[in-house]
């Protein structure tokens, strides 16, 4: 065998066809290259070609090179899994032959290097329901999804179950909305199912993920779009809708591409269309692309946007379940919620309900980011502690750094301090701690993060994203940002702090939608646990973390907090 990785005198033979390399005979080993946006941004699409050429060049006729979805450890991309050996290889770069050496020896039979999946602190504590096929199936091949048991739940639902039975199963599972608010999914389905509508009903998948640092939905759509489509079709059957829409943000081009491809594939295979799985139930799905407004994740604004209007929310009630798209009953669920559905139907509601805590069932996907060793996408059962996530799966902080807080719930969430690290992660506990589950962003911060600056960062996000319809949010977020900005410049006063608190209370109580109602939360939660940092800025004109410029005269522009975000497409 020629030495791999060293520049060969003659380049290895080029393959005629781009894409996955599938051997003609039996497969002894396979390299699964992550093709989600995070790894692609590190060149994993080129890696597919380079590695295939190399495998061919090395004469490994029984080795397959395939593309899969997100493998989770996004900070160490491009990632390549060798499932036969249960190993994941990190930072395998297309332009660096040395980085591929261990992988190639592994593929040729000599197990070497990489990170074993079993017993690994990052991989093994995770429980995968939503991400079950993420990293194992080719996101662009429906056959892969079907071979892994995909679409059997849909077939079972439409051919063996009555719509009410499907709803009952979802109710039994205890599944709650994964988009943020945690409304019981079964209850929502039942509300839509019992509506009488001559003009039809709709199912909408909310993929307008926009929290800073959060990329769970993007990853699911990029890794296994069929799972979401299957969930939507089951929902359509359960509530009596024949048309579905996926509202996905334009900043996710790869997700849009894979989703659109999956819709065509599913239509061709008869999983979507006029006769789903050969029955009389028909269900079509269309993609609607957002134009870059965070507020369109709010369901009434999303509806306005799908209908072609300006994406602004309207007061509820009426809720979309009664009057949504074009005034018809509309079921709106998040990507992750729909991705749970096939498993709930296939394995039964009780199966999901067996995981998690009393009131929060199943698992939750988090985008773990910030000051921990392992950042990326994780899925854990509800009820694990924050400590397990930060110091177990996350691998702890860099040497010499001290943990300060973990931010959950996005702009409407809050910061949870060290003494609450043993709190279980579920909807109620997080809310009680002054934060929220949100869609699943989780940002770990160490002592180099200033909490006033963090509050300012999230307020800056909210003021940028306020739609401008209601005054408390439009003006309030601006004014709160101004107070915070003054403090970070060392020009804040005690009076400013009082004003900020009263303003925050007013904006929370009077804003029209969740964006405004949640915007003050970054202020509330940081004040609740880190008031001393505010006071240091105000009384002593000192930023304890050394982040803020404190140049009272100057005018600092909004700078993002010291938050490292894994993956790409982080919104702004």
């Amino acid at each position: 065998m020629t030495a791999v990785g060293t520049p060969a005198a003659t380049p290895p033979p080029r393959r005629r066809q781009a894409g996955p390399l599938i051997p003609e005979g039996p497969v002894r080993a396979s390299a699964h290259i992550c093709q989600a946006a995070g790894c692609q941004s590190m060149g994993s699409d080129r890696l597919l070609e380079v590695l295939s050429d190399e495998v061919l060049g090395a004469g490994l006729r029984d080795v397959a090179v395939g593309r899969v979805g997100c493998l989770g450890l996004c900070s160490a991309g491009p990632l390549v899994a060798v499932p036969e050996q249960g190993r994941v290889f990190e930072r395998v770069r297309p332009d660096d032959g040395a980085s591929r050496q261990d992988l190639l020896s592994s593929l040729s039979g000599e197990a070497k290097g990489g990170r074993p999946l079993a017993g690994d602190s990052f991989f093994s504590p995770q429980v995968k329901v939503v991400l079950e096929r993420s990293g194992t199936v080719d996101p662009e091949r429906v056959d892969d999804y079907v071979a892994s048991g995909g679409y059997t739940a849909l077939a079972k639902a439409v051919s063996e179950m009555a719509p009410e039975e499907v709803v009952a199963e979802v109710v039994k599972s205890g599944l709650r909305g994964r988009g943020g608010a945690g409304y019981p999914t079964g209850l929502k389905w039942r509300t839509v199912a019992i509506q009488d509508s001559h003009a039809g009903k709709y199912v909408v998948c909310n993929a307008d993920e926009g929290d800073p640092g959060a990329f769970m939905d993007r990853s699911v759509l990029e890794s296994c779009p069929h799972q979401v489509l299957e969930g939507m079709a089951i929902a359509g059957y359960a509530v009596g809708a024949s048309q579905g829409y996926v509202y996905v943000r334009a900043e996710y081009p790869l997700a849009v591409k894979r989703l659109s491809h999956a819709i065509r594939e599913a239509g061709r295979e008869g999983f979507l269309g006029r006769e789903v799985a050969g029955t009389r139930f028909g269900f079509e799905v269309e993609v609607r692309i957002g134009a870059g407004a965070f507020v369109c994740g709010e369901e009434t604004a999303l509806i306005a946007s799908v209908q072609g209007g300006r994406g602004t929310p309207r007061p509820r009630p009426p809720y979309p379940a009664a009057s949504g798209l074009w005034g018809c009953p509309t079921l709106i669920n998040n990507v992750e919620t729909f991705a749970n559905i096939p498993a709930v139907v296939a394995k039964g509601g009780e199966w999901l309900a067996s995981m998690g805590t009393e009131r929060s069932k199943g698992t939750k996907v988090f985008a773990l980011a910030g000051a921990v060793a392992n950042t990326g996408l994780i899925e854990v059962p509800m009820g694990v502690t924050l400590r397990e996530i930060v110091f177990g799966i996350g691998g702890g902080l860099a040497p010499g750094r001290r943990f300060k807080a973990v931010q959950t719930g996005g702009p409407a969430g809050g910061c949870i301090p060290e003494d609450l690290l043993d709190m279980p992660v579920d909807y109620e506990s997080l809310t009680q701690a002054g934060s929220m589950m949100g869609s699943g962003g989780m940002i770990v911060m160490d002592d180099t993060s200033c909490m006033v600056d963090v509050a300012k960062f999230f307020m800056d996000f909210c003021r940028e994203e306020s739609c401008g319809k209601c005054a408390p949010c439009r003006v309030g977020t601006q004014e709160m940002w101004r107070f915070l900005d003054r403090m970070t410049r060392g020009a804040g006063t005690r009076r400013d702090l009082e004003q900020l608190e009263s303003l925050a209370d007013m904006v929370r109580s009077t804003s029209l939608c969740g964006l405004g109602q949640g915007a003050p939360n970054s202020v509330f939660s940081t004040l609740r646990y880190f008031r001393d940092e505010y006071l240091a800025h105000i009384d002593d004109r000192v930023c304890p973390a050394g982040v803020c410029a404190m140049n009272a005269g100057g005018r600092s522009e909004a700078v993002p907090a010291g938050v490292g975000v894994a993956g790409v497409g982080s919104p702004k």
Binding site: R314, P315, G468, C470, A471, P472, R474, M506, T510
Partner: protein, 236 residues
């Protein structure tokens, strides 16, 4: 078909039709709730948030202009908390753009000014934002001064719902929201504007005004609106 609902507003037992909003039920009973974006004859959007009320058993404040009455509701329209919030909202409108009453065409005929007086807002605590915004005086008879606009969207709604021209709309977002004519082109070159002047009549402040009028001169004729709506409905 509407039914009768009985409820309590500020401790007073009132009866209302099931299709009525809290605001309209309150008004029928001479209970005044401050409003700005609401205008009789136009659809309600619940945007200014001045009319929020407390409803027993509901943790959230509800906008009375868009919330329908329900049997047995117990509503509080005025409380210390609500008044404090409303004052803050008025203050927000004032600090957001440039509202100097003494030089405003709407002085003494301004709903924002009236509300400030009524709620006792006589000074501002919040930092002034004062962006420099354009004035569009390209229209032959009217002009729009964005510095005085509070984004209530009454002009947008009257133009769309009553005149059915839809010349006005909102562009931008957040604090950068701006009322625009057509697709952001000068009002004077608008191909949809019928020059009916309804937007000028419904503007609560001095943002939309008739040219040639001086400070404190013009008085809007808003009560015509419900009449126009009824005529339009009859014609259909």
């Amino acid at each position: 078909m509407s039914e009768v609902r009985t409820l309590q507003i500020d401790g007073k037992d009132v009866a209302a039709r099931s299709d009525q909003t809290i605001l309209s039920a309150a008004q029928d009973n001479e209970i005044g709730i401050p409003t700005l974006c609401h205008l009789e004859g136009l659809s309600d959007v619940g945007a200014c948030r001045l009319c929020v009320v407390e409803v027993e058993g509901t943790p959230k404040l509800l906008p009375s202009c868009t919330t329908r009455v329900e049997e047995g509701m117990k509503i509080t329209t005025t409380s210390e908390r609500l008044v404090a919030y409303r004052r803050k909202m008025i203050e927000m409108f004032f600090v957001e753009r440039n509202h100097i009453c003494a030089v405003c065409v709407a002085n003494n005929h301004c709903e924002l000014q009236d509300l400030a007086t009524r709620l006792g807002v006589d000074h501002f605590d919040l930092p002034l934002m004062h962006p420099k915004l354009p004035v569009d005086a390209t229209h032959e008879r009217f002009a729009i001064d964005h510095n005085r606009c509070i984004l209530c969207t009454r002009c947008v709604r009257v133009c769309d719902e009553v005149e059915q021209a839809h010349t006005w709309d909102v562009a931008g977002r957040g604090a950068e929201s701006l009322i625009v004519s057509d697709l952001g082109t000068p009002w004077g070159s608008s191909t949809t504007c019928t020059s009916c002047g309804k937007c000028v009549q419904v503007c609560p402040t001095g943002a939309l005004f008739e040219k040639g009028r001086s400070v404190a001169e013009p008085k809007a004729r808003r009560p015509y609106l419900p009449y126009l709506v009824r005529v339009a409905e009859r014609e259909q």
